[in-house]
């Protein structure tokens, strides 16, 4: 390849760099993510008022329901379509965590239960867990040392 082509590549490479629409994506993520939280909050209020659960129990049951809904929508092939629209809005809430595990499990089903599903289920969610545990340790230690 001659120098003319090399400089053409350097020039055109910069010119054609695609722009990602951060503003619109952020807005979509904000509203869909907020909507998911709103649904969870409504479930918590129903659990408290109709089923007379205390606050902590209502939270735990609501989380289980949201995980179930996230997994169900993944299995039905809907969650990835919402995710394409909402981006981080559907990844950050716990439904996204459920989606990452369910989708990995579905994908690995063809390799069997142990080598497929069990081995691959945390393929994407694993990094979230590791970061969660490390952060919990660090912030827990800080809280302990400061005696809060």
């Amino acid at each position: 390849m001659n120098e003319e082509m090399k400089s053409a590549i350097e020039k055109v490479k910069k010119e054609t760099k695609p722009k990602r629409n951060v503003l619109i994506n952020t807005a979509k993520a904000f509203f869909v993510g907020g909507l998911i939280c709103l649904i969870a909050q409504i479930i918590i209020e129903i659990l408290k008022q109709q089923f007379l659960l205390d606050k902590e129990m209502a939270n735990s049951v609501a989380i289980a329901i949201m995980v179930f809904l996230g997994s169900l929508l993944t299995g039905l092939g809907i969650y990835d379509k919402i995710g394409q629209f909402a981006g981080a809005g559907t990844i950050v809430p716990i439904t996204g965590f459920a989606n990452s595990m369910t989708s990995a499990a579905l994908e690995a089903k063809s390799e069997g239960i142990i080598l497929g599903i069990f081995t691959n289920m945390f393929k994407i969610a694993g990094s979230v867990l590791v970061v969660g545990i490390i952060s919990a340790f660090i912030f827990g230690s800080i809280r302990f040392l400061l005696g809060i």
């Binding site: 003319e4 590549i9 490479k13 695609p18 995710g83 394409q84 990452s100 369910t102 579905l106 063809s110």
Partner: protein, 335 residues
């Protein structure tokens, strides 16, 4: 005969009929009617994605044999490959055929790489009939190179959509209406781009390198071809390639297209930047373009299959993504 630094011209290599099998999205696309076998289900009647891709490859080979009215015993060799680890699809499919087999890997440039190897074997004078084939499947590629198919991560516009197609074509030294008259073997070209979700632009410099070398080796210009197609640069890669040629004062825009854009209707189908995968160039060329040459829409075309040479490990190690492109001239013989 060797031409220039990286090309070969052939006088007596002909193309027989081809077989193409395609999945649901490709069936619904603008070229759906050109394919020999289409499926409404991404599983193609199989129970895993890998077996589905094998089914497509098998269909393509079967249709190729059938349309050429030839038995597998009369084929001297099959040359082919795919995107799966250790090119497992082609190898497993060939268990069922009584045909000597050469497995090749050139990522999505495999289709033309196969034509080059097959033509070389026939030009050597020993083999008379060789089938070149390749396949890709959206789900087998997604799980190997990206995320699980149902994962809800947002895909950028630059992402190319791996096509679910397989194509196989017969090359022979018995004269037919179409001729493979020359090839240019590409060089691995690294433009230091590193986004695995933007492979079209990573491969465009390789296409530039090969097509420019092709023009120089054959002493031709864009006007000598009725059509120049790249394999799977898709929207962003195509745009970049046109601009790259403009920089070196060659205008290809009026006769240039990309198989990834021909295979789907981007306005109506959710394929992001357009189609990609080994099968993309094979299906469009063997299914659609050979028919267009045979109905005399085109007389001479240049097919440039483009491949991004990466795997998920090397990309995670922050390496850049090199590309490769191989070119083949297909023209009507005898007129």
């Amino acid at each position: 005969m060797k031409l220039g630094k990286q090309s070969i011209s052939f006088d007596t290599i002909y193309l027989g009929q081809a077989g193409v099998a395609a999945g649901p999205k490709e069936k619904q696309g603008p070229l759906g009617s050109y394919f020999d076998q289409v499926y409404d289900d991404l599983y193609c009647g199989a129970d895993t994605w890998e077996k589905a891709e094998m089914q497509l490859m098998r269909d393509a080979i079967d249709h190729c044999l059938l349309k050429n009215n030839i038995g597998s015993g009369e084929i001297d060799c099959f040359v082919g490959g795919d995107l799966n680890n250790q090119i497992i699809i082609g190898s497993y499919v060939m268990r069922d055929y009584d045909i000597p087999t050469l497995g090749i890997f050139g990522a999505c440039s495999t289709s033309v790489e196969g034509l080059i190897v097959a033509a070389g074997m026939i030009a050597g004078g020993s083999f008379h009939r060789v089938i070149a084939g390749t396949s890709s499947h959206n789900a087998t590629s997604e799980r190997q190179f990206r995320y699980p198919t149902e994962y809800g991560g947002q895909k950028p516009d630059t992402l190319t959509f791996t096509s679910t197609v397989a194509g196989a074509v017969l090359l022979t030294d018995t004269p037919t209406d179409l001729r493979l008259s020359g090839v240019t073997v590409g060089k691995v070209t690294d433009a230091k781009l590193n986004d695995p979700l933007d492979l079209g632009r990573a491969m465009a410099p390789a296409a530039l390198s090969t097509i420019a070398a092709h023009f120089s080796d054959f002493n031709t210009k864009p006007e000598d071809y009725d059509l120049i197609v790249t394999g799977d640069l898709s929207y962003f890669g195509k745009d970049m390639l046109v601009k790259l040629f403009k920089e070196i004062n060659i205008d290809i825009a009026d006769r240039y297209n990309d198989c990834g854009l021909l295979l789907y209707d981007r306005d109506k189908q959710e394929v992001f930047a357009g189609g990609s995968g080994c099968g993309c160039c094979a299906a469009v060329t063997y299914g659609h373009l050979l028919a267009k040459l045979r109905d005399k829409t085109y007389k001479k075309i240049l097919v440039v299959a483009t491949g991004a040479l990466l795997n998920s490990i090397i990309v995670a190690q922050k390496e850049t993504i090199p590309g490769i492109a191989h070119a083949a001239i297909i023209e009507r013989s005898g007129d």
